[in-house]
């Protein structure tokens, strides 16, 4: 028990096969006197779905902002595809293929569904025809093909979530970071979304980092899970390991359930 604990606490999983795509070492971020994330290390392996969970205010969103370059870390290093990306701009990191979604305001609310997706193709594709084709492909994948001319803000909530994923996919990610993509979805929509994530991983070959509150969904779909609490890594491991971890049950599941 003690042995596995130290092993998993480092966040490294020796059993994973895929090569390391994203690696964080001793990541730390302070806002004024408040430490949002501290001494957080983990690795994301090619082809996996890695869950990042924790109670509200645990530092999940900050972590997303750090790895996607939206805010710089106070200390620690980040590397992506064997390249040091610490303090690189969000533009630079997203061009390398690490694409994130947003929990709130995740769309271009005043623009059409088609325009939302086309914007995301702009950097990679240079002709209007190629962008149109990519846009249609992504819309079809996410079930939006009948809504192309609809203004994003007037889509039903579930489809808005799908649109934010379509935007991210249109930017051709290697790693897709999803920030609470299931929030507010109905039962059947959750199932469809999870199937979509599986498909994104298996058919598009995209590695996924998933922040999510829906514990059942996380347990079902993730290969490994990192648990954050008060900005620190509390536990890491397979869904079974994490769900049996006393610290996790005490800090998170205990309150939650």
């Amino acid at each position: 028990m003690n042995d596995t604990q130290t092993d998993t606490l480092s966040g490294y999983n020796k059993s994973s096969e895929g090569k390391i795509l994203l690696k964080a070492e001793s990541l730390e971020r302070k806002f004024g006197g408040l430490t949002a994330v501290a001494d957080f290390s983990f690795e994301l392996h090619e082809g996996e779905i890695l869950g990042l969970i924790g109670p509200n205010g645990a530092g999940k969103s900050t972590t997303f902002n750090l790895i996607s370059g939206f805010i710089p870390p106070t200390s620690g290093t980040l590397s992506f595809l064997d390249q040091n990306i610490t303090s690189k701009s969000a533009t630079y990191i997203s061009r390398m293929g690490l694409i994130r979604t947003f929990q709130h305001e995740s769309l271009l609310s005043e623009m059409s569904v088609a325009d939302n997706i086309i914007i995301a193709t702009t950097h990679r594709l240079k002709t209007a025809a190629a962008r149109q084709e990519k846009m249609r492909e992504m819309a079809k994948l996410t079930g939006l093909e009948d809504y192309l001319k609809v203004t994003a803000s007037s889509l039903p909530h579930g489809l808005q979530r799908m649109l934010s994923i379509a935007i991210a996919l249109a930017a051709e990610p290697k790693v897709l970071c999803l920030d609470e993509p299931l929030t507010g979805l109905q039962g059947s929509e959750v199932k469809a979304a999870l199937d979509l994530f599986e498909m994104i991983r298996s058919e598009l070959g995209i590695t996924i980092l998933l922040v999510e509150h829906n514990m059942r969904a996380v347990m079902r779909i993730c290969d490994r899970i990192l648990v954050l609490n008060h900005g620190r890594l509390l536990a890491a491991g397979t869904p079974e390991e994490v769900s049996q971890n006393d610290l996790v049950i005490e800090a998170y599941l205990g309150h939650k359930k």
């Binding site: 939206f70 979604t101 947003f102 995740s106 005043e110």
Partner: protein, 311 residues
């Protein structure tokens, strides 16, 4: 393309009509009014172009002035030929605006608004304190060459019309879509690999280059320029044109500029009442007709369509 866009075809016809009017009309006053209408429309459209990324750029007035002074210096002090002097205006305005944008577009909203305002007033201060630029009394003597003199109004209108169509094309392109995305929620374009700051600077530079050229045309049209022509008030009037005509479509500012420029011809004799009139019209348009004339048109169209559907 023109078949699918009758509005654009109509605008091209109007522009050609205006150019022909300038070529064949005998009355220089009316030709002058037509040039003013086009110049004001171009000012309003360039101001609106930066509104695409959500920023209110008072420095439109500054780059208008920088263009005018550049042409004035090139033609009267350096003695450069007509077209080169004219083209120097957008180049210099573009270069200065890229530097200005690089520094100021790290901020947005109220900060950018205030800085662009302060920049405009300070550039004007520099003119008044620079002897070589004529100080407070400004510069005189920008004339098109003799052989072009008769055609100058037509040339001026052609250039101004080209600016309007050019900015329309830019807005309709993918670049225009990206600008609107930045205004809507700049985190999204940033998260999919777009360099948001760079694109904002690009938007500002395109608009400033265009308005610099308008300034160059202004210098030759007026033959006299002074610092007082380039206060922040130029941008305020441009904004009034945008608001009256409507922000939603590029023809909005063009309609607004046309109406207010023509109305202004009658108002010049009213002294302080002129400002009261402009003030009242700006407030009235903002509070009573938020979408401007274009917005009214859209609402009217939607209303009739709904009426039909109802029946």
């Amino acid at each position: 393309m023109l078949k699918s866009n009758p509005g654009l075809a109509l605008c091209i016809l109007i522009a050609i009509g205006a150019i022909c009017f300038a070529l064949f009309s005998g009355d220089p006053y009316y030709v002058q009014v037509v040039i003013w209408v086009f110049a004001n429309a171009a000012l309003a459209v360039t101001l609106r172009f930066v509104l695409l990324i959500g920023e209110l750029n008072i420095a439109t007035a500054a780059f208008f002035g920088i263009g005018a002074y550049t042409t004035a210096v090139a033609s009267t002090i350096l003695g450069w030929p007509f077209f080169i002097s004219l083209l120097a205006a957008p180049v210099i305005a573009g270069v200065i605006s890229s530097l200005f944008g690089w520094i100021t577009l790290r901020t947005k909203g109220p900060y950018f608004l205030l800085i662009s305002f302060a920049f405009t007033e300070i550039v004007r201060l520099i003119y008044t304190k620079t002897e070589a630029l004529g100080g407070n009394s400004g510069m005189i003597g920008m004339f098109p060459p003799m052989e072009l003199d008769a055609y100058f109004p037509a040339i001026a209108i052609s250039i101004l019309a080209a600016i309007l169509f050019g900015l329309y094309a830019a807005e309709r392109s993918n670049l225009g879509r990206v600008f609107k995305a930045i205004k809507n929620n700049e985190d999204i374009p940033r998260s999919v690999g777009l360099n948001v700051i760079g694109l904002k600077i690009l938007c500002l530079v395109i608009a400033s280059t265009a308005v610099g050229l308008v300034g160059g045309v202004h210098a030759y049209t007026n033959s006299v320029i002074a610092p007082a022509d380039f206060t922040y008030f130029v941008a305020v009037l441009a904004l009034a044109y945008v608001k009256i005509g409507g922000e939603g479509h590029i023809v909005g500012p063009i309609i607004g500029a046309t109406i207010l420029t023509l109305a202004g011809q009658f108002l010049h004799s009213f002294g302080p009442y002129e400002n009261i009139f402009y003030g009242a019209i700006i407030i009235g348009a903002l509070l009573l007709v938020p979408g401007g004339i274009v917005g009214l048109g859209v609402r009217f169209k939607a209303g009739t369509l709904m009426g039909r559907a109802g029946r």
